[in-house]
């Protein structure tokens, strides 16, 4: 049981998995932090992108990475529209966070069932010619598809980081998050900025969804399961923190991977939820809040 190879293997696959959690969680964290919107439908958009990639691959033989070129702008636009027509009307509500949770829950149900309608509840798996291949590092196996998902995550998080810290609009997003009124006084158009941030968050969910689809099979209801990890990433990493999300994602992947080597599968979720509850009760502002 305490075979070092097994442990090392689970650490490696845990880290690869964690990178993807981080990419999925980063946009979730962004919309929670900047717009005070808890987007329950976040993971559902990830599934949507995974289906677009799946369609591109099975119907036209387009590589999932390439199909992101189509699905990301599409999701970005969808995000803009959702923000304009669904989120903006409730931004003046007294309890926007709670209202947004119920609203986006409805959105998730709508999306899930549209996808069920279009693609049925069958489990799908993205199988590219290279996805069955693996690299061997000594006795540790690294699947190419997992590695690709991980690399995609690094690029995704890197892109969001660059946007937030090195572009004018990105700095406006951060300013809005830190002090909305101050940002408005500086001539930042809050609605436009949050619209862009929301579009970006949805697009990042799409990238995360495709990365996830490289490793796991998916079907429309699977987003409920992914959502758990989103909450974990955001609560552990601290709401709105990019860096925190990245670290938290890796950490959670690691915990999931390593505990998978020791516990039966069904108890891992109990462990994760227990962890989430514990962190919420002890340190609700997250472990990595600046």
């Amino acid at each position: 049981m305490f075979n070092p190879i097994v442990i090392l293997q689970s650490i490696v696959s845990g880290i690869l998995m964690g990178g993807i959690f981080a990419l999925l969680g980063v946009g979730f964290s962004l919309s929670w932090g900047v717009m005070k919107v808890i987007n329950i439908a976040h993971a559902a958009f990830g599934i949507l992108a995974a289906y677009i990639a799946y369609w591109g691959l099975t119907l036209y033989g387009i590589d999932p990475i390439l199909s992101l070129g189509l699905s990301l702008p599409l999701l970005f636009l969808t995000g803009l529209m959702i923000h304009r027509f669904l989120i903006q009307p409730i931004t003046r509500a007294r309890e926007i966070v709670v209202a947004s949770m119920i609203l986006t829950f409805g959105l998730a149900v709508v999306l899930e069932n549209i996808m069920l309608f279009a693609w049925s509840a069958d489990e799908r798996l993205i199988t590219t010619p290279y996805s069955s291949q693996s690299i061997f590092l000594g006795e540790i196996i690294v699947k190419i598809s997992s590695l690709l998902g991980f690399v995609l995550s690094i690029f995704g998080i890197g892109a969001i980081y660059l946007f937030l810290y090195h572009t004018h609009t990105g700095k406006a997003v951060r300013a809005t998050w830190q002090e909305p009124e101050g940002a408005a006084l500086q001539g930042i158009d809050l609605e436009r900025v949050s619209m862009i941030a929301f579009g970006l968050a949805i697009a990042s969910a799409g990238a995360g969804g495709v990365a996830m689809a490289y490793m796991y099979s998916f079907n429309p209801p699977a987003h409920n399961f992914w959502l758990i990890f989103l909450f974990l990433v955001v609560i552990v990493g601290g709401v709105g923190s990019i860096f925190g999300s990245a670290i938290a994602g890796l950490l959670i992947g690691l915990i999931t991977g390593v505990s998978g080597a020791f516990f039966p599968f069904q108890w891992i979720n109990v462990l994760l939820f227990g962890l989430l509850m514990g962190i919420l009760l002890v340190k609700p502002e997250g472990l990595f809040k600046r």
């Binding site: 709670v98 149900v109 069932n113 939820f273 989430l276 919420l280 009760l281």
Partner: protein
Amino acid sequence: MMSARVQRISTLFLLCFLALLPLVKPPVYFISFLFMIFLYIILAESWNLIGGFTGYLSFGHVAFFGIGTYTSAMLFQKLGLSPFIGAVPAGMVSAVVAGVIGYPCLRLRGPYFAVVTLCFAFIMDLIVKNWSFLGGSEGVHLKLVRMEIQSSRSIFYEVFLGLAVMAVLLVRWVQRSKFGAGLAAIHEDEDVAQTLCIHTAGLKLKAFVLSAFFPGVAGGIYAYYISYIHPDVVFDFNISILIVLMALFGGGSSWTGPLIGASLLSIVNELLSTFIKPEIARIIYGAMFIGVILFVPNGIVAFIRKRERVSS
């Protein structure tokens, strides 16, 4: 608005009508449908004590329902305790669990409380599924006395009618009491309430425990109603969300809101699932959540009252 007297008399008439309904032996389907409405009224009204009055949105209230179901099922299975007696300890167990969970969790506010209650419900579901003592993921079969369906359904119907009336009256009483005023103060501004010497932590805990009791009792009876208990059914996450929606749709700040919300949405749900293909019904169901938040954010009761004020 009707005068108070007319209102009281018409309510009494409606209650008598509902209580005597089983005597004319209406179709079993109809009785079962009303039974489900009563169940949701009980759940939504109870939820409102904490969620509507204080603004602490519990997204895991189905857990208390589920705990109630399993408690009374186990009492029957292991000790042979009769259904309707077992429901009382079931409610008590739910209330005790609520106390234990609520004490640390009620310190969290807003979305954090919502998330932590959500987690709690998931954990309960997973624990029950993996605990063979409770039947695990195979569920529990209750071996009940065979009874003619019409009369057994009628009994359950009457019991739930009584329970629903009790729940509504309790919430109405709380709303008009000093306790309710304290809860409203917490909703308005908890910090200010605290500085006014309102013991907010105690009040919240009391409301939370009370709000878990009736779902527990209802669950305890529901166990016998369905007689086959599965964690996927009695810990269904969608029930949690539906309760929240019902209460908010009706309007969370008063006892009438959940009553109206639960009745209306149950009817809408039933119509959707009877007449429309399941996927499309679910899409409409999801759109309903969006519609409620966008168009009637303060609930339908407040919406109608506002309309009336404008027109008069």
